[in-house]
Symmetry: C2
Subunit: 336 residues, 2 copies
């Protein structure tokens, strides 16, 4: 049943090398090629992947590491879209995907990935500022592309968005609307996105010479924490809130309404992510759109570029974001 390249060669009356050439697009006369191809098709021959990998040194398989709580993984469309984006490119490139989720401790996972060998490269999501898994991956000699994690030493390849800039532009938008006491609900502290967005917020506030003391309240990216943080901010008196993501903004929206305050008249509200539901909130949410699927595509592409051009330095890709203005900040005045 499982035939080898030698069987094909014998049937065609050519050498094994020739068959290999038609398989891999080497120089073969067109007559020979057709003859061999015919047999190949007829027997539905499939080269042995392990042998191929052993001989050539590449497997056509890349690893994808998403070390996050699986519950969250499937809750948040972010990860779904990331996966889809990568999947798109892998199919184009005729490559396979090996997936690792967070069902095990990071150290153990790292060991497992490296032991798996046979991976041409790895794409890993990394959100924490410090991450032993990422450190290990980079220390190994497996070509790696990071998503969402800019390493301070700039030695790694990554794909990310400019969180600082994006947060600055949201905050500036609120400032331009005349808001003065603008609160910020942060993401989970210790993540790159949370820290950078704080910096962006801070930068915009400082530039406008507005006070931000006591106006930064920690959240954890989850909806409930947004409600709690909003509560706190309302007590401290704010006329606008910039939430580090849409999920928390949703929670904040509920809390604000519950206090009998109007959005945006009393409190303008902005989020980050532009999730599906964000456009359908009441009122629709002003937010930052980051093309997540595109990030996934870009990450995979970057990895393939890395593989094609070894020796080339690390590749760093910063994807653009888009401020999506809706009624939660501009009320009925404009339609966005």
């Amino acid at each position: 049943m499982a035939q080898t390249i030698d069987d094909i060669a014998a049937l065609c009356g050519v050498s094994r090398a020739t068959v290999s050439r038609v398989l891999n697009g080497g120089p073969v006369s067109s007559v020979t090629r057709e003859k061999v191809q015919l047999v190949l098709d007829r027997l539905n021959y499939r080269p042995n992947a392990a042998a191929r990998t052993l001989a050539s040194g590449r497997s056509g398989v890349i690893g994808v590491v998403m070390h996050i709580d699986p519950h969250l993984l499937f809750q948040d469309p972010y990860f779904s879209q990331l996966l889809q984006g990568m999947s798109d490119v892998l199919i184009e490139q005729d490559a396979g995907m090996m997936l690792w989720l967070a069902t095990q401790p990071k150290e153990q996972l790292l060991d497992r990935i490296l032991s798996m060998g046979m991976l041409d490269g790895v794409v890993a999501t990394a959100y924490d500022v410090k991450d032993p898994l990422i450190d290990g991956l980079l220390a190994s000699h497996v070509p790696t592309v990071l998503i969402g994690h800019r390493r301070p030493d700039r030695s790694a390849s990554y794909v990310d968005i400019d969180h600082v800039h994006a947060a600055d532009s949201v905050t500036s938008h609120l400032i331009r609307l005349g808001r003065r006491r603008i609160g910020h609900i942060t993401g989970r502290r210790g993540t790159v996105a949370a820290e950078d967005r704080i910096v962006g917020y801070q930068r915009a506030m400082d530039r406008a010479r507005l006070p931000s003391e006591g106006l930064i309240v920690d959240g954890d990216y989850n909806r409930p924490s947004g409600g709690a943080a909003a509560q706190t901010l309302l007590e401290r008196g704010v006329d606008a809130i910039f939430s580090a993501n849409d999920a928390m903004a949703d929670g904040a929206l509920e809390a604000i309404k519950q206090q009998g305050r109007r959005v945006p008249e009393d409190v303008a509200l902005a989020g980050f992510d532009d999730l599906d539901f964000s456009a359908h909130l009441d009122p629709p949410l002003t937010t930052v759109r980051q093309g997540v699927r595109q990030q996934g595509r870009e990450a995979a592409n970057t990895l393939f570029q890395l593989l094609a051009d070894r020796g080339g330095g690390p590749r760093r890709v910063i994807l653009p974001t888009e401020l999506v203005i809706r009624q939660s900040t501009v009320g009925g005045v404009q339609r966005g």
Copy 2:
């Protein structure tokens, strides 16, 4: 950097075979074993996976095929839990997971999977009664376990629940409550689950000599279709509705309330799945709990059993379900 088993052997002053034995747990004197192990650890040696696969015939990698719309994949916790369950077992077994989603047509995907070779086996979700991808997988000689798909010819290994029995018990529950005009909202027709649940519903109705004509309305598993179907059923006059899943039941609940009818006083409502939100609906939803994560675990375990005992016939696993009775059928009378 990348050392081979020969390097280790040389460093230890033993033969390659001995190193291989300590690696794979063969018969080695304890002194030799320790000596070799020491070097192994010190050099952090990792055997080449491709060579290993080529020589031994097994790769330690299994394929997981979920040919469903990626959007749905991450929307419905069902898939997340399935994946987690499989992941659990794979880790125990020290195996890797190769994941394929539905980013490509089924025929093409099949070809890709088979070309990937080097897979020890495959777990595939299969919901349609007829599915060329599944047919191809079974026709190939890759050990395969199906989830959610009982083949009529009984030649395949699968893990599933007894949809007929479960649907029967839900319907019987409604009948015991004195309901007489019980409607059924089906899942997407052509899926095994939808068809089997219809059979179970039908069976219970027939046994009680209750009419079911015109009381079966097609849905598609999605929430909106549940609302539409409920509308139709209300017009036809029902005092109970059994929805083929919770998402549609949620839609139905909304529709029923919108008509000013009370649940369960006017219309009792039951679903299927026991999703997270089901217990928090108003009123909490009576439904069927199927241990999805357990299904995932079971599927992976079944595959490993299959691999351990080749030649053994197909393995069929039917997992139990549990009727979860809540206020959407029993009102305030009982608490469940």
